[in-house]
Amino acid sequence: MANRQPILRIRKNEERSFLSKLLIKVIFIGIALLISALFINLVTKLDPLKVYASMFRGAFSTTRRTWITIRDTALLLSIAVGLTPAFKMKFWNTGAEGQILVGGLVTAAMMIYLGDKLPSGVILLLSFVGSAIAGAIWGFIPAYFKARYNTNETLFTLMMNYVGIQIVEFFVDVWDKKQSHSVGVINATNQAGWFPSIFGQQYLLNIIIVAVLTIAVYVYIKYSKHGYEVTVTGESENTARYTGINVPNVIIRTMLLSGAICGLAGFTEVAGISHTISVKTSGGRGFTAIIAAWLAKLNPIVMIIYSFLIVFLNKGAVQIASDFNLNEYASNIISAILLFCILASEFFTNYEVIFRHKEEH
């Protein structure tokens, strides 16, 4: 009998302990580092250990760098958190890029038009509200048609990105006084509408805003009635309908929220970090955040770890590029290798492979 069984068999295993899951993850991250080291060595003949040391330096060597790493983690996290309600509902929002851009655009507009008329605090408040509304509108449009006609949201939100990009391009040209297709730093002299330093820390406010958002979304999804409705709708629209949930309402409401948070990420980026606007304001984070959100299984608290990991890799790889005179795109390759390995590790945490000779009882 035993010989008729396949050599390898796969079985679901949902009872792995937290520790064994962690161990599997660590092993796979180790494998990823090995593959990356091999890649680095093959292409550049450099000592991978030195390269990794240089990576670490890129993220943490000075206090300022550490702050920047944390700041960028917060930014990526805020987008991942923004995507969470939509993804929980299985609404594939690939439009975070556009939502960030329009949020950033409104912020930049407030800074430009009100910079010398209103106190900085008022501008900040208006930007906060304005960017959330802009992002919410960008989320609302595809959600409305999804709720009404079941229009494919992946494509719709993707297209909304491009619409957002072109609108930003338009305003960059209109606001640019020197015809260089760049707005430059807005309000460089009076810093109106910029995030203020708190306790002498330039980026503390960014982090506070994102921390509040993260906890709020965590509570919203896990403990509120709305969050429950979102989860049920995501699991099965039919079940949701039978239990009396108004599915179209839930879709629209959730995307308003998701878009608003992504819009706020644009606000943080423009008012709190770059103080300018361009199509690079979103910088692909809308897509990277999807990876962070998914790897964390849509748990906002776990997202902190993955956002940090992705940002750390990025900073590190940029540092490698400048230290060893490599091309900056090495960072994408190394990040991707790591993500592939983490994706592969998920299989081993969820399933187990059984060999033929191992008898089961």
């Binding site: 796969i10 079985r11 679901k12 594939w92 048609f145 009404r148 006609y149 079941n150 229009t151 494919n152 992946t154 494509l155 719709f156 993707l158 297209m159 909304m160 491009y162 619409v163 072109q166 609108i167 391009e169 338009f170 040209d173 209109v174 897509f287 990277t288 999807i290 990876i291 998914w294 790897l295 490599l326 091309n327 795109y329 090495a330 960072s331 994408n332 390759i333 990040s335 991707a336 290798i337 993500l339 592939f340 994706l343 592969a344 998920e346 299989f347 969820n350 399933y351």
Partner: protein
Amino acid sequence: MTLDMIIAWITAAVTFGTVIMFGCVGETLNEKAGGLNLGTPGVMMLGGIASLAGAFFYEKSVAVPNPILCVLISLISCLVATALAGLLYGFLTITLRANQNVTGLTLTMFGTGIANFFGGSLVKLSGGVGQISVAATSKAFKATMPILSTKLGIVSQLLFKYGWLTYVILALAFAMQYFFNKTRTGLNLRSVGENPATADAAGINVTLYKYMACTIGSAIAGLGGLYYVMDYVKGTWSNDSGIEALGWLAVALVIFTSWKPKNATWGAYLFGFCYWIYLYIPAGINSMLMKLFKVTRTTYMQNLYKMIPYIVTIIVLVLVSSRNKRDNQAPQSLGTSYFREER
């Protein structure tokens, strides 16, 4: 608008459409088997760089490159690289059952990284920005049919002026449509994409079908990258993610065509038409809009005209979905992985 302008517009639209048609047809094959590969932009980048690298080293190694070898070497390096990328995607999503969205996005990150990393190195090797050129290979890919492309006046200009890959993908799109609807293998493939458990019960090798679909689909999509490098930008390279942007449009086109490759044949060109429309806005309308928006330069307004292809896509998408026909829907199991023991 003069006749020359219209011809130029159509030519530009067809060239543009060809790039995304490759991506769309390849991705449709994958999606019909239930695999949503958001890595298509990355795969196309890989195809572009692999073909460029192959052609580059071949052209460097010989004094007079042979056009046939040029084509073969770049084609093979492109197909191998992108099929491997498809295989990697398949291994992760089919065997290891990883999430398709994340795997795809990571593949795009990977492909863009590899392409720009080695693209940058190739540019360095050839002596700086704008210096790289695989003229001989590009010429071989842009070769047109004799007589037909010159002797028929406007017909030649409109129909026969394009590189031969343009016709290859048109034929492939129709062949794919036939394959899905009229062949046993094609029907089996679709049943895998609709309901893998039923297909499995009917004795279809689900894993094999899925692997074949994503590997071959990826290789077809990768040719879009090759066409971009060799024909669209005439055998050059720049790290500006031009292919990536077109790759996303190719993914969009799959949905736009409601998973029917025959629709890609006109949909891709329509996209190309809308993409270039900003250069052909009538002067009267342009000046009126410039006054309306209080803008001083045409280039500023063009930023807004460039939204047209995306807005047209959205409108068509909404119209199609509001009619809600059953055969316009995505394959049912799209985006999910299959595990036999799961009920």
